[in-house]
Assembly symmetry: C5
Homo-oligomer: 353 residues x 5
């Protein structure tokens, strides 16, 4: 289990607020900046080199600037300057272990979300930070890694006129919705494996099962930690009066909020299921120990008296009249048979066999 | 355990909100649409082919349109168009794993409920989605499967004049009440089996008992998940001021709310009982292991010294004077008797026998 | 354990709200209706046959109508008609598994309480429903079974002038107070048995102890379920502004509220105690198993090597020089003694003996 | 464990509210009534026989009347009449098992506190009721037993001018503060013993340790029950606007409130520590059982094959060629040595030895 | 485990509020008092001997007075007099076991924080009290021990002009931020060790692992206790309207609040992880016990029947025809082989081998 539950923030401790240091895994590629601008009639889609090149074209256009990779401080800094962001916002974009939150700044909203992916190979949930900034006519989205998460939104922008006729807040909603919908995919993968593990547990529990239960409990713990604060974020967005979010979009945000509650519900259900599975596993172990003990006890109880009888007639006393009897040997064999029969009968009556 | 705790929503991820895709089990039959219209004086009851055929006859009539089966997207779409429903509502009707909720749209209320049935054969709780839409003069109800759940309401509509003199919100209440009343039937079936299992557990605990406890915990988990959000829904309905719900009906909704609290209470009681049963089971296992161990220890403690004594006199030393004694054999037998008696006496004093 | 945690409501499911069906255990006797009317100067006390005979004598009189037994639907119906009760109230009076609640109707308050009795024979808590209706000048009380619970109130009405000078809400308070005071008696009986069981557990734990712990946990679960909602009921009564309850009586209701909190506190303490007792029991079982295992191990460890040595000299090889030695036998006996001494010394050093 | 978690209230059930019956342990001594009156300039301190003798000397004086012992109903009754207390207050003073609470009566506040003492001999927490009544110019304090708890307050009254210049509410605060400060002493004694027990547990766990853990859990349960409601009491006192409490004193009450929170925190920490200790104990027991089982298994596994081999060559067949071999005996001894060596090597590889 | 969970307050019990007694570990050094005064243009930094020497230079200056060591009552008293602090504040500064809190006094805010350090040698979290007093133009900080915690803030004051242009509340924020940032360092150290322990546990669980789990649970308990109340403190500071805190600084305090929530989250995650580890450990112990029992049972079950057979043919009866047979011995050996083979086959079928 290589992933850390406690993300290193230490290297920042003591520095000035607003100091821009990237806290995630360092990477080499140049972050891609993609700008999509549209109105109801037309749409443009291009890559730019640095955010400094971008000029906010105010007017009826909605601009969506997406940055894949926040590991280069300069890139984020340029974005911040181009859109006049608060130093704390830039700091948070770079500190990629933030909890989901929404903050109301002058002229824009700053949202932090966690993108969760399930890595089938390592059976681990990968958590990535997505920063969303919603302004009057623009949306900024900054992810840690390139991904196809927003491909659906992009193709809807290209195809459909409907989404292009909506203001920027609707675009922000569409991105939020894509992230939350992705949670269902991740949960589904996890849920399938957990339910498969449950079947396995009922059929043939093994010590390795236990470690896997522990592993999934850990993953669910992490999942929960990433989704839980999102509830409050969406609840606030769909209720508060912000000039940046229209009442029409709030209806849609309420829908995303419902989905988030649904995700939380499912997480809690899976967690309770895992706890139940642990109980079941421990009980199975006890049960099997009981079985083993019974076998041992039956064997010992049957053979110890028999061995003792054989031992008695193996003694070398000179005066043991039975030894000279003609039917002594068969009689002892019969006695042994009788003793075992009596013992086995007792066991059966007690329900041990 | 074939049923999934995590319902597949994956195939929808990334699609546009309001996209109409049915997320439940696909089925073949043509969904039946039944329209009942009534006022205090007369009542009509007919089946129509598609909702497009239906014309809202405004006026003093109350119309109740019931759809059995939401697996055909066209059918739901036609209903949506006929009653001018929001795209998100139609999407939710088709996504049959919604949590119970109430949403206030312009001109109508949208309610999601879960119908819970107990399948005696598989010992599983089947959960089905019921969508209710309450408008000014109409009620729409959309279920996944045909059922006799609303037969009581239908016969009251046919017989009694009282219910026919009430507005549409009272009909919605009557349907809600039928759903919640059905929870009691389901809980009763579950409760009976759980209490029978408890008796069985106290009389003769078996490994299979454990698996059944786990099974019922899982079912109660699912039951709780389906009923819990309904509390809030009913609390809101019976308190909020909505022009669609009269103060008179709110008194009745308060009653359904009470019933829901009662259901939750009983669920929690059964869950605590199951936890107690698990403890009891584990303790029984420990107790029986203790019994087995005692038997083993008594047998071993009695026969090991005896076998040892017999072993000593089975040695082949030339100079063992006891072997030549006339009463050596009986003396050794007496010694063995004495040793066993002493050991058994000790066990009795310790309370082991 | 014959009593059911889930009360059967099934036979009502689907029927019209306000349908009057008795849901408790059917009984044969004719319910007694007792009417006490009083003002500061005089008091009358009589039995009437049906509530239809009763005429509300408005004025300065306070009337208390008590019905012992709600198993005859007609009797309750007559009461309902005489006092003009809402159909849902009559339905609730007959559905004798209600949770405690208070409902504000036009002209009267409807309260549901649970009377709890401890049956020493079966060691079970019996729960019975008491419906109280407080009107402007009357109090109705409907119990399932005749009892002496209100004898104290009756004799105070006969003797003391003080209580007779108070309005109807004070009488309702006095009845509430009698019910809650009775909880202490019931809890006391339960608490005594639980603390006796605790002493027994510490002195000599037995498998039966475990079943009794489980039994009391079940009873406390039920007790809690019956008292918990009463808190809210009394909190509301002692705070809300209802024209039916005077500020003077609210001071007294606050006192009953305090008692209820006290009851809840004690229930929770007893429940935590029972959980602690279960832990203690399980640990005792483990401890004793440890003891048994130690005895077995000591016996086996001492006698197995000895028996082995005896076995060696019981072999029939022709060339075993020790067998011919003059002191071979005593030497082997000494060897055996030495081995046992060494083993026992080791055990003592490990603290096993 | 002689002390009862459920205090007997039964003998009061059914009696009129305000009926004065003492519910604590009956005692023989005459309760002492001590009156201290002071203003900034002078102070008087005297014992009076009955509260009836006391005349409230209104004016600038603050009067503090302290009663040690509430087991004589007449004494409390006289106090009640002298200060015109509500019957429910007098009843509560005598029912010495009240939860901490504050009640607002006309002209005075009534507070119930619990004094907690740790009895080192029985290792039990003794709980005693303190009733405080704060009027405009007087404070009444009624304890169950004489104690030196308020000696500090008395000497400050005698020495310092500062406290004498403050109104009656400051005196009440000083008494409250003395009670809460005493909790720290009691907790310290308990905490020391629990931490000593923890060390003992880690060094050498014994069955008696388990019973002591259970004992301390019980005491902490009781401690918590006595302190928990005090939080609300002090929170209300330091926030509400009561004419009896000045804003200046509220600053001090906020301080006592902080201390109470601190006490609760420490109680919860100790409780969690005890739960952790129980887990640790149970694990130790399992660990030791494992050790015992290993010893048994090693012994049995080594000696059973050896004894079997010896048994084979102890058989009396006529045709057993090995028996006649010259080196048969040493060869068999070597074989036995080899078998044991192989087995012990296996154990070591498995990490059992 | 030498550190006490219950800090001794006993020696203060009963003394007057505001009595100045130091409750921490006594120390010998003279506490250092360092005064930093600055405005946008200049900064002075000097050590003074006693706070009495300090004159508040009102005006545009911000003064930061830091005291390292509160073990000398006189020093704190002089500070209190110089800045006119409430007696309760001075008392709290000296009682170094306070919970985090904020109190609003006339003209200044009083904050208590806990500085937490992880001592790698003893593997313990050291908790130290920091008192912050925020006035209009000054900040007082009083720690128990000298430390480099605020070195970052000092160097920023010296270097940067930005921080020097902000009012005193921003300085207080910077100190708060340094304390909370330090929590991450401490948590990181703990988290690393806990995750290392988890790996160790999965690879090779040992009894010592258990004690370390218990140890870390204890440390996390203490950590939580120190951070939990800080949430409320920061929430209040970032929301309430206090003339001492500007809206601009509140944005920064909201950021510290987020960090605190993040710390709490991580603590809870680690605590849940520890609970999971305990479960895993206990299950491993059970699993290994099972393995041991199986070995024992297999050995006993195989060798007991064999030894019995050998015993039978070791009997000394005169008439045992088998003993005289030519192939008797090989036949018996074959029989023994057959019995063992049959038993081992059975074990394999049961999955024991």
């Amino acid at each position: 289990m290589a992933r850390k539950l406690v993300v290193k923030r230490g290297r920042k401790a003591g520095s000035e607020p607003g100091t821009l240091i990237h806290l995630g895994t360092p990477r080499a590629e140049q972050p891609a900046i993609r700008v999509i601008e549209y109105d109801q009639h037309e749409i443009s889609d291009r890559l730019i080199e640095t955010a400094g090149d971008y000029r906010v074209s105010k007017g009826k256009h909605v601009a969506w600037l997406n940055v894949d990779g926040v590991h280069q401080v300069e890139v984020v800094e340029a974005v911040g300057q181009a859109f006049n962001l608060h130093p704390l916002v830039m700091e948070d974009i770079l500190s990629v272990d933030q909890r989901p939150k929404v903050e109301d700044y002058d002229g824009y909203l700053y949202l932090v979300l966690r993108i969760l992916r399930y890595d089938e190979a390592t059976r681990e949930v990968q958590s990535e930070q997505l920063s969303l900034i919603l302004g009057d006519h623009f949306v900024l989205s900054l992810q840690e890694l390139p991904s196809d998460l927003f491909d659906g939104v992009r193709s809807r922008l290209e195809d459909g006129r409907q989404i292009r006729s909506m203001p920027a807040d609707y675009l922000a909603y569409a991105l939020l919705d894509a992230v939350v919908d992705h949670y269902f995919l991740t949960l589904e993968a996890l849920g399938d494996e957990i339910e498969a593990l449950e079947d396995e547990l009922i059929d043939r529990p093994e010590p390795a099962t236990l470690k896997r239960i522990h592993h999934y409990k850990r993953e669910m713990l992490m999942f929960r930690k990433a989704v839980w604060p999102l509830r409050e974020v969406l609840s606030r967005l769909s209720r508060d009066e912000s000039p940046l979010i229209s009442a029409e979009t709030q209806v849609f945000l309420r829908d995303v909020y419902d989905h988030t509650i649904h995700v939380m519900d499912t997480i809690d259900t899976l967690r309770e299921l895992l706890v139940g599975m642990l109980d079941l596993y421990l009980s199975s172990v006890s049960n099997r120990m009981n079985e083993v003990m019974k076998v041992l006890t039956i064997i010992a109880t049957v053979f110890m008296p028999l061995t003792f009888i054989a031992g008695v007639y193996g003694m070398n006393f000179e005066f043991m009249p039975e030894l000279g009897w003609r039917w002594g040997y068969p009689a002892v064999l019969l006695l042994m048979l009788g003793v075992s029969a009596a013992l086995l009968f007792t066991f059966r009556r007690r329900g041990w066999i």
